[in-house]
Symmetry: C2
Subunit: 552 residues, 2 copies
């Protein structure tokens, strides 16, 4: 038996294009002599469809798409992810399903039982968990088909079943295993974080080790606003060896012979370089954000600092230099090297750049507000006016020429609220908002590993917002290596103040940083979606009260 793994990039709600792509893949699989082709999770409608699932019309269109695919299931079986209607009146009205199509009929529907409802996932918002588990018989083989999370509730990293703390109360593969399947298929939409490619291999291996059958793990590829699906679909032999892995961050269709997979003669040990992965994920995130919205051109405010330099580099890689416009907007506090560093980057990347000094706007606002501000001392107000004047220039150019403004804030400054709402926090998508400042440095050095693309001075000079004379980030924040570690423990690891202080950090500093994170929630609420790189990004994956008193 030959099984085709189709790792493709789908578009939410674009049923016509998604169907066309799948029909074309079926043709390809037939040329590869496949007996079964497997798509990823919820491919008819794209993942995640979010509240569109509440529209009957949307579900009808997904069903139509399955019906069209059913007609194509002729001489080949198709495993496709799509919502299905719950036939029981009890519980939610939909299942998150894997349809098994063969002989131009819907032969069976396997429903997802473990519905991730944490971090960026909201699946119990829409779906009823499956309570029945049936293997599928096809051409003399018994197949265990599951959907994404269904295989994830197992220990990895050497933890034992005895100490493991299951998130769910059933284990679908345990149930299917009782029916003696020959192999397993899992269709997934597993979003990228820089630790997740490794985690996926570990969890597939944990399943294979437990059930002793080959597993085909089919992942989605492509970005959907903040979520980036990195592909890397896995074929694992029944002996726990990695038989094959599809590429990361690109589409692929590849067919495998079950007999070869079963013998498991290959033993690939994949290596995932964190900076390479983040780089590729950011590029795909920007590319698909523009491509799927039907936009081509980006605009970026280039300060000469490292954050806007990195954002610009990513945009140029994703969209092409000819589609990226940068604007240098020096103020009276900008240092000489800022303009030079920004120009150097623009030239290295072959970008069009404009220079629009913001002093005229700053002076005008000073005059307009003088009757009210009178002799009050300058403070953060005047810093914010500069940042907002820049945002205004960028948005005006964006409006006039049809560019999308890219936000350049990094995760460290978003965390502590070190940014101006409606100023440098403007933008349609936050490119590096899930990359800590220390990682920004690391990534820029990685990008420069063979050749200076991001000017060395941009990387080596002390970070500054340049909103007042001789300002440095270090005037108001601790060193970034300390700040980022405290933030990582609080945000990614959900450690409280006592736990973090017990790690050896200064108690007052920890309390101050955690307070800054909490009181900045109102700012983050109003920022662009953030391309998710870590296991805990700002935005849909981290939902905090704005009005509250805990640690604030």
């Amino acid at each position: 038996m030959r099984i085709a793994v189709a790792q493709l990039n789908f578009h939410i709600g674009n049923f016509e294009s998604n169907l066309k792509k799948m029909l074309s893949a079926v043709d390809t699989a037939k040329t590869q002599n496949a007996d079964i082709i497997c798509f990823s999770e919820l491919t008819t409608c794209g993942y995640p469809p979010r509240d569109f699932l509440e529209f009957d019309d949307f579900i009808n269109q997904a069903e139509n798409c399955v019906n069209e695919l059913t007609k194509a299931a002729d001489g080949i079986a198709i495993v496709v992810g799509s919502p299905s209607r719950n036939p029981s009146p009890l519980g939610k009205n939909l299942f998150n399903s894997a349809y098994f199509l063969a002989d131009q009929k819907i032969q069976q529907i396997a429903n997802k039982a473990l519905l991730p409802t944490y971090d960026v996932f909201d699946e119990y918002r829409y779906f009823e968990p499956a309570k029945e588990f049936n293997i599928i018989n096809y051409k003399g083989k018994k197949i265990a088909i599951t959907v994404c999370e269904d295989i994830w509730d197992l220990p990895t990293d050497g933890e034992s079943m005895e100490t493991y703390d299951p998130l769910y109360t059933v284990r679908p593969m345990d149930e299917l295993h009782k029916q003696n399947p020959d192999f397993a298929i899992n269709i997934s939409a597993s979003p990228f974080s820089y630790t997740h490619p490794d985690s996926r291999i570990k969890i597939v291996k944990a399943n294979v080790d437990r059930y002793k059958i080959p597993m085909f793990y089919i992942n989605h590829v492509g970005a959907q606003t903040e979520l980036i699906f990195d592909g890397g679909s896995i074929v694992m032999s029944g002996n726990g060896n990695l038989h094959a892995q599809l590429p990361h961050f690109e589409e692929a269709i590849q067919t495998f012979d079950l007999d070869e997979v079963t013998t498991g003669e290959h033993n690939i040990v994949p290596g995932h370089n964190k900076m390479q992965m983040i780089h590729d994920a950011l590029v795909l995130g920007v590319k698909d954000y523009f491509g799927k919205l039907g936009f081509k051109k980006a605009i970026i405010g280039l300060s000469g600092g490292i954050d806007s330099a990195l954002t610009t580099y990513i945009a140029a890689k994703a969209l092409g230099s000819e589609n990226v416009r940068v604007v240098l907007m020096p103020s009276q506090y900008s240092s000489d090297h800022s303009v030079k560093d920004a120009q150097d980057l623009a030239e290295n990347l072959g970008l069009e750049y404009n220079i629009v000094p913001i002093k005229p706007a700053f002076d005008t606002y000073q005059e307009m507000l003088a009757p009210y501000f009178k002799d009050l001392p300058e403070n953060v107000t005047e810093e914010n006016i500069q940042a907002r004047a820049r945002g205004m220039v960028l948005m005006a150019m964006s409006n006039k020429f049809g560019h999308i403004l890219l936000n350049t804030s990094n995760k460290s400054e978003m965390a502590v609220g070190y940014g101006t709402l409606y100023g440098d926090m403007c933008g349609g998508i936050s490119v590096i908002g899930d990359v800590y400042k220390t990682e920004v440095f690391e990534l820029c050095r990685w990008i420069n590993r063979n050749k200076e693309i991001i000017p060395t001075n941009t990387i080596t000079k002390p970070p500054s917002a340049e909103l007042r004379p001789d300002q440095k980030d270090s005037d108001s924040l601790p060193a970034y290596d300390i700040l980022d570690e405290i933030l990582f423990q609080y945000i990614e690891k959900r450690q409280g103040p006592n736990e973090i202080i017990a790690m050896g950090f200064d108690a007052q500093l920890v309390k101050r940083i955690l307070r800054l994170v909490n009181i900045s929630e109102f700012k983050r609420h109003q920022t662009a979606p953030v391309l998710r790189m870590s296991s805990k990004a700002f935005g849909m994956g981290r939902r905090m009260p704005i009005v509250g008193k805990y640690l604030s």
Copy 2:
């Protein structure tokens, strides 16, 4: 047996103040000779605590709070909502619980089984559903204790059990009913929408009609960012008569004698006026947003139009006129009456107002951008520059003087994207973003029912953004009564294009409006939290993809 209903306003994460408030209520209940005092859902930590529930430190603090209350359960029993740890390794690690405290001990814990995970609710994100149901025996009475949603999965409005479509697969009160309880207690945190006070009475009645026992329904009161809890706790006799209802939108502690409740001699028919309710909810929403964040003063851009007039009126009611500053920012396109209407409102409300014409800023940006815009025709860019210049002035004054800027967008314009990001869409909280334009008119007329507070001309003149000569909203949008009905069907009722067209609306218009709603998702993503008035508000209750193709 005497039961005290304590409908109080709690603060998320403010364990100290929440505990103090509960201890004081216990004292009050003792003076009312209560045998049991009942608080609402998750009162130790405040509702909704959101992802703070993932912090072990946060749960510890809630447990400490329960322990302190346990000491006070001396001569009185206490029913209190708090998270509790799931003793089983299987499933999520927390329950959403009602603790029953008596004789200075935790006597029993009743866990919530139906975990609302739709609209603004994310409870399965945190909690494991209960699978066991046990009544509580106290002083010779058998009590069925449930938490909020546990009583909601029943038909109302005359629908039969046969045709009803349950959202869940168990019904906790059916299970408890088998144990012959004498009465029921439900502790809730049920957020306001203008239909919900009626729905609550209906659902309590549906339970009483089914189980034939009195029910005490204790609701939370107070606003938590976008969610407003309106109290209105219910005591219903076993014969289905409404015995008593606590006030809406304010704290109250009232004790009832079970014997009197059982006889059910009262029969109150509550009347809920939609405009009165929305008015009171908006005022409480603004009041608590400021009070719980520790702010006092608001700033608002007053255009002379009806949206900013209504927002200003609400702010003055909530915060006091002395705490509201309004700024008039006429442009070259502002009509004469705009300034006059704005001044009239400010005077009617006794508000300080400033006039800051925005022409200098507009001219300066024109000059700064002239080298790039050259001879390109004016378009939406120049309109947005005006709106953003106003946002900038307001934010500068907000920064300098410590005001919070209130957003003045209504639901109709937020829906179709008729507003400028970083311009008139600025603000810390959106006051009327869940009030359609037609409702804005209705509410203003209601406010003026006895006396002209909002200038009549503000209500009667044709709506205009005044961003180009003689502009009217009706130039680019259909009449608001038609627009709002289409929006209501799409947003609140989740009807697709075909269903809405079948109601008799013009097909092209429906498609255009739905498209505008969908392509404006990126703008709404970056706006302030919206005070929730309806069953489907923008924000946390409506989660849509930004990048997608469905109806766009």
